[in-house]
């Protein structure tokens, strides 16, 4: 089974700190990580491979340094990695990203299953997975929390919903996006890390993908960011003092005054 896992490199936000003086993000020490949801996608790809055989290819669109994330995936056990990188891809919104990744998947060829994370933690859109599926005219299931069965041309999954889950089957080739509940990702093995060190990460540019210029980067993106601002600061911040009973009483009174209960 040929599996393609799409991973995005994102800032590991725990480490983002604000310089109180200049009010800017401090960049040093902000490490980039594999989008957390995509780690579950890699793990699931590896598990399927271990079960039914096949190959796991990692696909990532991003700047050159995103190679590091691909190497991490190889250290976990992925077979190969491809980076789509080109200045012409800069400014892609989810439409253009879906298109570009789809072109990459086509060039890899013969994918039976494409796995994406549920969403990327920088943009939080959850649109790229379904977008790729639609571009490639494939069926998809979002928010997969368990693969119940997978074999040639067939997959049955549990899709996480607000009130429970749904059991859905579909034919392969297809795409799924996965949630955290699906597995516990492994750590890279020593052997894997050695292999990753040596691994050659192929880079494909817009030219390599034969992409239509109108469909990539800023030009291919229907949406435009016109303004960025800080969310309004929350007012208030009243500490309630006193003995425990007193604090509880004060709080209950406040909540009652606000007519919440």
């Amino acid at each position: 089974m040929n599996i393609v896992v799409c991973i995005k490199q994102v800032p590991g936000t725990t480490d983002v700190k604000i310089n109180e003086k200049t009010n800017t993000l401090i960049r040093e020490g902000v490490e980039s990580i594999i989008n957390p949801f995509d780690v579950y996608a890699i793990e699931e790809g590896l598990r399927i491979k271990e079960k039914v055989g096949g190959k796991v290819s990692i696909l990532c669109m991003g700047p050159p340094q995103a190679k590091e994330s691909i190497k991490e995936a190889i250290a976990m056990g992925a077979d190969e990695g491809i980076l789509l990188s080109d200045r012409a891809f800069a400014g892609s919104d989810t439409w253009a990203t879906s298109y570009t990744l789809s072109q990459g998947i086509k060039k890899i060829g013969n994918a039976d299953l494409i796995i994406c994370g549920k969403q990327a933690i920088d943009g939080d859109t959850a649109q790229v997975g379904p977008g790729i599926a639609e571009t490639l005219n494939l069926p998809f299931i979002a928010y997969v929390r368990k693969i119940e069965d997978i074999r040639d041309g067939y997959i049955r999954c549990e899709r996480l919903m607000e009130e429970g889950y749904e059991v859905i089957e579909m034919s392969l080739p297809a795409l799924i996006t996965v949630v955290k509940e699906i597995n516990n990702p492994r750590l890279p093995s020593l052997k894997g890390m050695m292999r990753a060190k040596k691994a050659e990460i192929v880079t494909w540019t817009a030219n390599d993908l034969n992409s239509i210029p109108e469909n990539i980067g800023l030009n291919g993106s229907p949406t435009q960011v016109v303004k960025i601002f800080s969310p309004p600061a929350r007012g208030g911040g009243e500490m309630l003092h006193g003995e425990i009973e007193e604090q509880a009483e004060k709080l209950v009174t406040k909540i009652r005054e606000l007519k919440i209960v």
Partner: protein
């Protein structure tokens, strides 16, 4: 397309540095420089008082979109009943439609849902496109997607609003991709520019640290998924008139590749956190799984749900479905009580739009207090039971 600093105009004032959400602008020798990793978000452009930063786009030939008119709302239903979020969309959609002086329409797909169509009209819809078909009883991406796409192609709306639910966030990208238009995820604010009929879509980005306003000027329809419980529900007006347009779709014409075999409702002990008006949430500071009972008791008295930080989920104290935050769920209840939660940014982004936030923590320096409307410095194991007792006392009832 590219971003440029015009040397002659830049005076090295450093204003742009602050505006960059990625912190990649530097000023060297009185000249701003834009570093590697710029994604052309454009935040710096208006920050420059001297017009020294420009983003050059290749001119897109503007298509004529005058044929695209009207505001649509996806009337998501589950088990034959329209979801609350759809009524919120109708409330917001009504305002946009009035500003643009166009009709407001609802799109309703399901089985035996005709009565629901009448309700949609009472809540402000001028038209309801109704597809009543056993095939559409439950949501499925390929059936719902194909029906919706065909209707969009036929009727050409200028705005489509879809609830940012599991269903909506799965359905919307499929439509946007196919009809080749922009889609803004999980919006919390909508506004319309009547001059060029652009929808100004505001949403949290970069983990909620930053709000972004997004437009889709060169494509129609303009699509947005909208966060639940942010917009006000439309008020029911029994005398509002509207038209139900019965539609049919020929499913033999498409290949349906997915099949829903079973829908399982996991009856959790508590209410679904995405829906709850009150959430009592616990973190590592709860000390162990057994202490979450205290939170359940408080939640029960308040008629709320129990949430959790990731630390408590990772420790196995609570199931993932209760996790609030960046890798969990985004919630915005009327009241969020954070118990033994430090307030890491990844947790805050999932709950910071709650109306009232209460923090209980024994560390007065915990970042959660900066966000909290009311804070109590103390031990959760003592404060929470005291709260439960007090609420019971004033709310009465037998628990």
């Amino acid at each position: 397309m590219s971003i440029k600093v015009i040397k002659d105009k830049c005076i090295g004032c450093k204003l742009c540095i602050k505006s960059c959400p990625f912190g990649i602008i530097t000023v060297d020798n009185k000249l701003a420089m834009i570093g590697e990793g710029c994604n052309l978000c454009g935040a710096c452009v208006p920050s420059c008082k001297f017009g020294a930063i420009v983003i050059e786009r290749e001119q897109v030939v503007l298509k004529d979109y005058s044929g695209y008119r009207g505001v649509w709302v996806f009337a998501e239903q589950r088990k034959g009943k329209v979801e609350g979020v759809a009524y919120e969309l109708l409330g917001e959609g009504r305002k946009l439609a009035d500003r643009l002086q166009v009709p407001l329409s609802a799109v309703l797909l399901g089985q035996n849902v005709a009565e629901q169509a009448t309700e949609l009209i009472a809540h402000g819809a001028d038209k309801v496109y109704l597809y009543d078909d056993p095939v559409l009883a439950n949501f499925q991406d390929d059936t719902y997607g194909e029906v919706f796409i065909k209707l969009v192609e036929e009727e050409k709306p200028e705005i489509i609003l879809i609830g940012a639910t599991s269903i909506g966030r799965s359905l919307a990208p499929k439509i946007a991709l196919r009809v080749r238009t922009g889609l803004t995820a999980d919006c919390t604010g909508l506004e319309v520019d009547t001059l060029n009929r652009n929808l100004l879509q505001t949403r949290p980005a970069f983990g909620g640290n930053i709000m972004a306003t997004i437009i889709c000027p060169n494509y129609r329809p303009q699509m947005a998924t909208v966060r639940h419980k942010v917009m006000k529900k439309a008020v029911r007006q029994a005398d509002h008139k509207g038209e139900i347009i019965k539609k049919q779709f020929d499913f033999t014409a498409i290949s349906i590749k997915t099949k829903v075999l079973n829908i399982v409702e996991e009856v959790t002990k508590t209410i679904n956190i995405a829906e709850a008006d009150i959430i009592v949430s616990g973190g590592r500071g709860m000390g162990g799984p057994e202490n979450f009972k205290l939170l359940e008791e408080l939640a029960q008295v308040l008629g709320g749900a129990v949430g959790s930080s990731r630390a408590a989920v990772d420790a196995g104290w609570m199931p993932y479905s209760h996790q609030v935050g960046q890798t969990g769920r985004t919630v915005c209840p009327k009241l969020y009580i954070a118990c033994g939660i430090s307030g890491a940014i990844q947790h805050l982004v999932g709950m910071q739009s709650s109306d009232v936030i209460v923090a209980i923590n024994k560390d007065a320096q915990a970042p959660i207090f900066k966000l909290a409307t009311f804070g109590i410095e103390g031990d959760v194991l003592q404060v929470v039971p005291a709260l439960t007792k007090q609420f019971k006392k004033v709310l009465g009832g037998d628990y």
